[in-house]
Symmetry: C2
Subunit: 222 residues, 2 copies
């Protein structure tokens, strides 16, 4: 994280040289979905610095629809964790045989130890952006919030902070627990903290759940 002021308008763009591009690729390679955290708190101000970087993400019509809720209250945290446990049991019931056994052995959330829990919402009622770009694709509002989450994730990893995205939750229930405005739509519930371990391979690859495919399988020409 940097405390340098933003360069002023008219400034020449920096040179993103080969050394930087290599390290950016390393960052992408080493970004993991982290579910195992040291319980130690993050240094003061670090989270706020990461959120400031997240807010540099692209958003449809510059609508900046991201709303960040730092979840600190123990009772609310417990209610979210209870919802996760319920949703996770329901999900397990959908698998059978070996797949169910593997699923049951996965650790799918860091809600037990992550020092920071962050719920990220899309404000569907925002007037910022004046609706531009949303007419035929109203989903651009939550998509903009996903871009902020991904940006936060990369900035966090660069600062040595692990992020895990918990999607085994009922979004409506989480909104209720956190008592947010009715037009806020839950996009992501994140755990943040120092990771127990660093890995190059995703946990789901290491656990035998799902391998990586080569990108060439995903490219078509038309």
């Amino acid at each position: 994280m940097s405390d340098r002021p933003d360069p002023g308008p008219g400034t020449q763009p920096p040179d993103f040289d080969a050394a930087f591009r290599d390290k950016l690729r390393d960052l992408l390679l080493w970004r993991r979905d982290v579910r195992r955290f040291l319980g130690t708190p993050l240094p003061d101000g670090l989270l706020e610095g990461l959120l400031a970087q997240a807010a540099l993400a692209p958003s449809v019509g510059n609508s900046q629809p991201w709303r960040f809720v730092v979840v600190e209250d123990a009772a609310r945290r417990k209610a979210v964790r209870d919802d996760f446990e319920q949703a996770n049991q329901d999900a397990l019931a959908g698998y059978s045989g070996e797949r169910a056994q593997t699923y049951a052995g996965l650790k799918l959330a860091g809600l037990d130890k992550a020092p920071v829990q962050l719920a990220v919402f899309a404000d569907r009622a925002t007037e910022r952006g004046h609706g531009l770009g949303q007419n035929t694709m109203p989903e651009m509002l939550p998509y903009s919030v996903v871009a902020a989450v991904n940006t936060l994730w990369l900035a966090a990893r660069a600062a040595g902070v692990g992020v895990g995205w918990v999607s085994i939750l009922h979004p409506g229930r989480v909104s209720q627990i956190l008592d947010v405005p009715k037009d806020w739509h839950l996009v992501a519930y994140l755990c943040l903290g120092l990771p127990e371990e660093e890995h190059l391979e995703p946990e789901l690859v290491r656990a035998g759940w799902q391998d990586r495919a080569d990108v060439s399988e995903f490219i078509l020409r038309r």
Copy 2:
């Protein structure tokens, strides 16, 4: 872009030092939605390198649902552009007075000159990931594709390539034009190419459409 092989498993993670973190923040600051392109083609292999980096994005259950369609055919490109023109006329009709005048003056797509057009879909029928994390939030599949788009965007900017996201399109119509499998859901239609100009301020800020707010307005504690 780097042609270095991936570091092997067990390798120690790189040190993302203060100089790198400062430059990463510069990258976030200088990433723009670009609609004004030089028409020159990208160097051979550059796009494929960017797509390989996009595929390092997080995805729910490691489902890797991103499907990249490089749109090259002139008739298909024209059909997409026609759809944009129609959707843009419809959108303009929703504004009045000064706001309508400002809207009419905006350049909202680089479909005229961008050398690369890339449609990015979510494969809703993929079996990769075995449904993990999608039970209560099926939108995690398109969200994963947005993470890949955002990752592509940053890798492109680092390589000097501008990206613009065109959302003023009818997704169903674009899927039809591109003749993709029925379970593919359009997430993003992107223009890529060398930008005419570099800017620190978003085009919509410069055009007086929508200013940036301070991130502190978007943070709550619960």
